[in-house]
């Protein structure tokens, strides 16, 4: 009986959190279109997020490109299809691996950072101080950060994709003596708008999810340093789960759209 009530309580908490996050999201859209616009803070956040994540996204993308090519090469060679390598890697990275890996890295890097920063501001009454000074902390802290992640994640995805493809080219160049021009010609020949557009749209939603969940967890952080830790941690866990759900919906929607 206690196990059953435990499950019931967990479900209730989860549903309550979903409800609160939905309200938070609605408030974000409402506040985004209301003056004053905190443009300076938005630019500062864009710079900070892009700058802080660029190296990590670059290294991750590069290694993914290398590993994907190294692991796939023997199989393709067995079937005499090694010339398909640029197309295969290109489509994989642009459509799925690039956006997903970049978003997961950013969920850890940016999402937890936002959760911890806002959580710490909540605990030390900085958000209250902002409100008392006549500033809308939701607009200044949340709207700017969510917009910044929404715009910066697609940019980071593009950079990550490019570096990933370069990593793949390096392996092909070293193992198969393929030139830079030939490799990238094959990549771009195999890509269609149907590969790029859904992936880019998906990246915007990834950015939105990272910003919203990070801000939500931090803004309503529990008391004390433990609360801040929980906010940062749950921001990463919840965002990662949400990213997979968004990815599934995006792939499913794109599939239906192209079938029509």
């Amino acid at each position: 009986m206690s196990g059953l009530s435990n499950i019931k309580s967990h479900i209730q908490t989860f549903l309550k959190e979903i409800g609160e996050l939905s309200y938070f999201t609605a408030r974000f859209f409402k506040e985004s279109f209301r003056k004053p616009f905190e443009f300076k803070e938005f630019l500062r956040q864009c710079y900070s997020m892009g700058n802080r994540s660029l190296v990590l996204v670059g290294i991750t993308g590069f290694i993914i490109g290398l590993v994907l090519t190294l692991q796939t090469r023997p199989t393709l060679m067995e079937f005499g299809a090694v010339s398909w390598m640029p197309s295969m890697v290109g489509i994989s990275i642009i459509r799925e691996i690039g956006p997903m890996i970049t978003a997961l890295v950013c969920a850890g890097r940016i999402g937890s950072g936002i959760g911890a920063e806002l959580g710490s501001m909540r605990v030390t009454e900085q958000i209250d101080a902002m409100e008392v000074s006549g500033t809308n902390p939701f607009k200044y802290l949340v709207v700017t950060r969510v917009l910044a992640t929404t715009f910066m994640i697609p940019l980071l995805v593009i950079i990550g994709d490019a570096i990933g493809l370069y990593g793949s080219y390096l392996v092909e160049h070293l193992k198969g003596d393929v030139s830079f021009q030939l490799y990238f010609n094959q990549v771009f020949e195999s890509l269609e708008f149907g590969d790029i557009i859904p992936a880019t749209i998906k990246s915007f939603f990834f950015g939105l999810a990272i910003g919203l969940v990070g801000c939500f967890k931090g803004y309503y952080c529990g008391k004390g340093t433990a609360g801040v830790g929980r906010a940062a941690n749950s921001a990463v866990v919840f965002t990662s789960l949400l990213l997979f759900i968004i990815d599934f919906i995006a792939v499913f929607a794109a599939d239906i759209f192209y079938d029509l």
Binding site: S120, M121, T124, E125, D128, G134, N136
Partner: protein
Amino acid sequence: MKESNTILPQGKVTGTQEIVLEIKNLNKSFGDNHVLKNFNMKLYKGENLVIMGKSGSGKSVMIKCLVGLIQADSGIISVMHKDITTLNQTALDILRSDIGFLFQGSALYDSMTVRENLEFPLRRHSSRFEKNMDTNTLVMEALENVGLAHAIDLMPAELSGGMQRRVALARTLILQPKIILYDEPTSGLDPITAKEIIILMQDIQKKYNTSSLIITHDVDCARAISDRMVLLIDGTNYAEGTFDALSVSTDPKVKAFFKH
């Protein structure tokens, strides 16, 4: 309306003085915990009113209700003849610029320098000042008031606890508020620094003729600064009067505050 159990001599307050802040029958509960029960209070122009109570007695909840950081369950909160419970957000923000709030933990924005901390409320309420008023002059004047002009370009993390409290006081002063709310202004400070803060508070009151509401459980602070005191016990204003009158009270609950 329930009045205080003990009404003692009223300090420098006279019947002709203007009331700048008034609370009538304020109630606030968190679940089953009734923190404030029909709390009543008046603050007169130019007065230093100390609200004293044990930790967890609802002092901070009461002061946060005053600026709309916490919504009261019922009651009237009148600040400069405006009931804040009925104001819209814009009107509340304008009214808040007339109220300074010194937070218990200083609540300095830790991602900003001291200068930026002081400029932050100015940017929101620039209309309060003449068009050609130099922001830098206002910041310097506020910092000179608290003896910290040299710390203008430091980050809050580089300041000691006492210095942080003084910068927070400067930030509170910069909008030249008519009422200042102090939430435990001396808590966490050594006796010498605490005394410095008390002297600063007295100087500010004399210089700007502000009305001050001071929440504390520090008897020395109350003795030094209060014109009048209210003892908050069990969520109600249990006793009111001057420090001298209350300190000789025979009521056991009142005596408990002064026995050391």
